[in-house]
């Protein structure tokens, strides 16, 4: 374990952690290609490292976001029931689906989501602003530092978001990702949750789904402490930076960064052999 390899892995983890916390993702979509392509780490070890990194991003980011009040804890825990159920089913689904076919379906789905995010955000925002419904246990409010305004919202179309979360849990169980890539658009577009609250709540949730996957990789002997520890430390530092950056960045900028990332990941998956 040389100092050079530790620094290189930690830097990759820091970049993935910053982007992950900023976009409500675990950072696995950035970390796995870095480990496999730049450092020649075997795919199974890269996925196991990514899952540990997802837990680090989620735990560090959520600790700060919960204190700031941007996380909708009750909504997050309610959706965790279906994401964990989905992750459990993911193991069963994996044995029936061809991996290449699943990757292509995943990529096409990402194109659809990024398109919906790009054109549908304004519709969700308009509905969100007009809504004067009675406050419920799932309603939320937080102070948006970027625009110096208190933002209040109500959760709409919960069944729709629960169905997408179930699918997200299933796919994250299969591919070793956090699943935020599906949950954030669902919460924002279907339930009218502001982008900052959606990313913070998604970040809060992904740790539980990832932890379950991590123990499967741990049991199979794919987790390498020499890679996972520096990556997790880098991700921890990066995710704290990402949360601080999200305070000063406008919600619209975060949304467009998310759209671009989804599009890039979809292309990467489609051209992958």
């Amino acid at each position: 374990m040389s100092a050079g390899s530790v620094i290189l892995i930690a830097c990759g983890g820091a970049a993935a952690g910053t982007l992950g916390a900023l976009l409500g993702l675990g950072g696995g979509v950035f970390l796995i290609p870095f480990l496999v392509l730049a450092l020649d780490v075997p795919m199974h070890q890269a996925i196991a490292t990514s899952i540990v990194a997802v837990i680090a991003t989620s735990s560090a980011g959520a600790a700060m976001n919960v204190e700031r009040g941007t996380v909708n804890i009750r909504l997050g825990m309610l959706l965790e029931i279906v994401t964990v159920a989905g992750a459990l089913a993911g193991g069963i689904t994996a044995s029936y689906l061809d991996g290449t076919m699943l990757t292509k379906i995943f990529a096409i789905l990402l194109f659809g989501i990024s398109g919906a995010m790009a054109i549908g955000g304004r519709i969700a925002k308009r509905v969100e602003n007009r809504d004067k419904a009675t406050r419920t246990a799932l309603s939320g409010e937080y102070f948006d530092d970027a625009v110096h305004t208190m933002v209040s919202y109500h959760v709409k179309n919960l069944p729709g978001t629960m169905v997408v979360s179930l699918i997200a849990g299933n796919i994250s169980g299969l591919l070793g990702l956090g699943g935020g890539i599906f949950k954030v658009p669902a919460m924002h577009l279907l339930s009218g949750i502001p982008m900052k609250a959606a990313t913070a709540t998604s970040n809060f949730m992904i740790g539980v789904t990832a932890a379950a996957g991590a123990f499967i990789y741990l049991a199979e002997g794919h987790l390498n402490v020499h890679i996972a520890a520096p990556a997790a430390l880098g991700v921890l530092a990066g995710s704290m930076l990402g949360v601080k950056l999200s305070r000063v960045l406008r919600a619209e900028s975060v949304k467009w960064a998310f759209v671009i990332v989804l599009f890039a990941v979809a292309i990467q998956l489609l051209i992958r052999k």
């Binding site: 309610l78 740790g207 539980v208 987790l223």
Partner: protein, 119 residues
């Protein structure tokens, strides 16, 4: 359920997450320092934390750095479960029956998944 109880829930969940993250980070930082400073690293390549714990419990000599790294990673992996447990306790204290049930179901499913994967 009121604003005060919401703040208490947020505080406990945040503390649980912070405790897990800080403990694991300290162990991993010291572990990385010990491992990189070691002139003769005992193990290179794939080092599985579960195997390290089993070896240490069986009385085999294991490098201090490896034990610290493995401990840090295992604590990090357990942090989300501790967070759900913290939420469950605060919902019970607040007599929030609906979300006590929600937290209990999440915890139960997680424990089930854990047992299945480690069996």
């Amino acid at each position: 359920m009121n604003e005060g109880s919401d703040i208490r829930t947020e505080r406990w969940i945040s503390r649980a997450l912070r405790a897990g993250v800080v403990t694991s980070a300290v162990l991993m930082i010291v572990g990385v320092a010990v491992e990189t400073a070691s002139t003769y690293p005992l193990m290179d390549g794939l080092v599985d934390p579960l195997a390290v714990v089993r070896a240490a419990l069986s009385g085999y000599a294991v490098s201090t750095g490896i034990v610290l790294l493995s401990g840090g990673i295992l604590i990090l992996m357990l942090t989300p479960i501790i967070r759900v447990l913290a939420a469950l306790v605060t919902f019970i204290l607040e007599n929030d029956n609906t979300f006590t049930l929600v937290a209990a179901v999440v915890l139960g499913m997680f424990v089930l998944e854990l047992l299945v994967s480690l069996s």
